[in-house]
């Protein structure tokens, strides 16, 4: 191919072609175009306040979308991420309410709240893994079960009302201090970087791709696929639990409805980011852009005065475009 290209800079040309066929880069251009469009429509959009809002939406979505990226690359799906987010926030809210009533300090209370979120997340993730590994449920059904049970429990525990009464310092932690970045958002950025390293540079990620790409080959290579599934779904639970804590810090309370529908946004972010539901394909960088585009659209539409329900329509169009571009590209690859 390089030989038939006009001689001058074949390397530059192929690098350019690579860049254009890079999903993350294309999404980055789409995102820039959105920022330009919304700013042109209403200059208020281009401000640190709006950026802070977008990032505050992006944080929890990125956590569950990261979880979903690992799961989807492994060829599975986790429908329970939103339910875990809600349930962990609620359970942690009760714990923090009790501790605050008992006069415990804010720092200790928040640490316990964080640990409770992590614990609830890991526990539900473990249940998902057990259902898949030993009850032989497919991931869709296994996590549909925990989605239902998790949402149900959240409502049973709370009677449907948000649980407040925790340390009043919680909300102040969510105030941006580094430009539009708040501490929780910075933590999400750090977690995302670590997850990127583990997905793309470490054995854990390698086995995740291998299992999603060809589960038989992975088993035949002597890899314990049950162990890998357990790790993936527990990681997914852990990250979803952290999203529960993120929401608690933002709202100052744990509400049973907090994570409702979050799984669909997470799956949308992953799919827009270029992952295939059939497994083995995807990049975390794509998911980062997918989540950023979703949250930018949400804020942008509100600021330019479009009814927020239009967001669903825009997201639907984005998913259709992202997936069809992928399919077309694959077809092209086959033909050549």
């Amino acid at each position: 191919m390089a030989a038939s290209a006009p001689a001058a800079h074949p390397k530059t040309a192929s690098r350019l072609r690579e860049l254009v066929s890079n999903q993350t880069f294309v999404l980055f251009l789409v995102w820039i175009a959105m920022v330009v469009f919304f700013t042109a429509a209403n200059h208020i959009f281009f401000s640190s306040d709006v950026a802070g809002n977008i990032l505050a939406d992006w944080g929890p979505l990125m956590l569950v979308a990261t979880a979903e990226t690992f799961v989807i690359i492994s060829g599975g799906i986790d429908l329970s991420v939103g339910a875990i987010t809600g349930l962990s926030g609620v359970v942690a809210a009760f714990a923090m309410q009790d501790m605050t009533t008992a006069g415990q300090g804010a720092t200790l209370t928040l640490i316990v709240g964080l640990l409770v979120c992590i614990g609830v997340g890991l526990l539900v993730g473990l249940i998902n893994a057990l259902l898949i590994n030993y009850a032989r449920l497919v991931p869709f059904i296994a996590t549909l079960v925990t989605l239902g049970a998790g949402e149900g429990l959240s409502i049973v525990f709370t009677g449907g009302a948000p649980i407040g009464g925790g340390p009043p310092q919680a909300i102040s932690l969510s105030v941006p201090w580094l430009g539009p970045f708040s501490t929780p958002v910075l933590v999400v950025v750090a977690i995302t970087i670590v997850c990127w390293l583990y997905l793309h540079k470490a054995k854990f990620g390698r086995y995740t791709y291998a299992f999603g790409s060809n589960s038989f080959a992975t088993r035949a290579a002597g890899i314990s696929t049950k162990k890998q599934i357990t790790k993936i779904y527990m990681l997914s639970g852990l990250l979803s639990g952290l999203a529960g804590m993120f929401f608690y810090l933002r709202l100052g309370s744990g509400a049973p409805t907090t994570g409702a529908g979050l799984e669909l946004d997470a799956i949308a972010a992953v799919v827009i980011g270029g992952a295939a539901l059939s497994g083995g394909v995807g990049r975390l960088s794509g998911t980062i852009m997918g989540a950023l585009i979703l949250t930018t659209v949400t804020s942008g539409l509100i600021i330019i005065g479009v009814a927020p329900n239009w967001k669903q329509v825009v997201v639907a169009v984005l998913i259709a475009l992202a997936v069809s571009i992928q399919a077309l590209r694959r077809g092209e690859g086959k033909a050549s």
């Binding site: 390293l197 540079k201 054995k203 390698r206 790409s213 060809n214 080959a217 088993r219 290579a221 314990s224």
Partner: protein, 250 residues
């Protein structure tokens, strides 16, 4: 016989009421290529999966170097030096050539990074390339994904991986399927090279001319039983086909 490197004695495998293998015994010596042939449903793939640890036989013994072994999983067999090329693709198409060659045996980065689970990708790519070349297989680049390779190249990688890692036994289930004449010839060449290194080779194939060309001994399976086990020189194509189909009495 004591000179068998890898041997199964009287193994049976039942799936519920179905008997896939019925009292099967066979062996392979070091530096020998044994052909395993039989019609569809004769039990070849089931036998391969018992030999490679994917399935556990319902009864009977498996011996490596004269010692009885029980494979709980493919991992056990791989650890013992038995490599298998499955008829189903044993490669992960979305992973690179290097990642596939090292799948399940990843090389980690030195020091703390390796302990944290990070991979020595460059080193693996280089070694994968060297391993495949040593085996006599030319693959364009170690960091290409398997999906970008042709069918022949994919098969070459799969065989190269098996030969590179095998220390005792290599089992090849239909390795020449879907290959052109030249590529099939290369596969047979790789098998001979593995034998000359002192490996025991088990070659499962429907392509009788390949079996007659490369093997030292042929085991014929029919309906889950061994109906013939004899040196290749005692067969010609017609008698081999007759034994497989049962037209020639056992």
């Amino acid at each position: 016989m004591t000179d068998a490197l890898y041997e199964v004695r009287n193994i049976s495998k039942n799936y519920g009421a179905v008997t896939a293998l019925d009292n099967v015994s066979m062996k392979v010596r070091a530096g020998e290529i044994v052909g395993l042939v039989g019609d569809n449903g004769a039990g070849k793939s089931t036998l391969v999966k018992c030999l490679s640890g994917v399935h556990q036989p319902s009864s009977g013994e498996i011996l490596l170097d004269g010692q009885e072994r029980h494979w709980r999983s493919p991992h056990d067999a791989i650890q013992a030096g038995i490599e298998t090329l499955y008829q189903e693709s044993g490669l992960a198409p979305q992973l690179s050539v290097g990642a596939n060659v090292f799948l399940g045996r990843e090389e980690m980065k030195p020091g703390i990074l390796g302990k944290l689970g990070f991979l020595a990708q460059k080193s693996m790519d280089a070694r994968a390339h060297a391993d495949l070349e040593r085996v006599g297989i030319a693959v364009p680049s170690s960091n290409r994904s398997i999906a970008q390779l042709s069918g022949g190249q994919r098969q070459a990688v799969a065989i190269g991986r098996a030969v590179a890692w095998a220390s005792k036994i290599i089992i090849l289930d239909e390795p020449t399927n879907h290959l052109g004449a030249r590529q099939a010839g290369e596969v047979l060449h790789v098998m001979r090279a593995a034998r000359d290194q002192g490996l025991g080779v088990i070659f499962i194939s429907h392509t009788l001319p390949h079996v007659l060309e490369v093997t030292d001994r042929i085991v014929v399976l029919r309906l889950g039983r061994v109906v013939k086990d004899a040196p290749t020189s005692t067969f010609d194509q017609e008698s081999l086909l007759g034994t497989i189909t049962g037209l020639i009495a056992d």
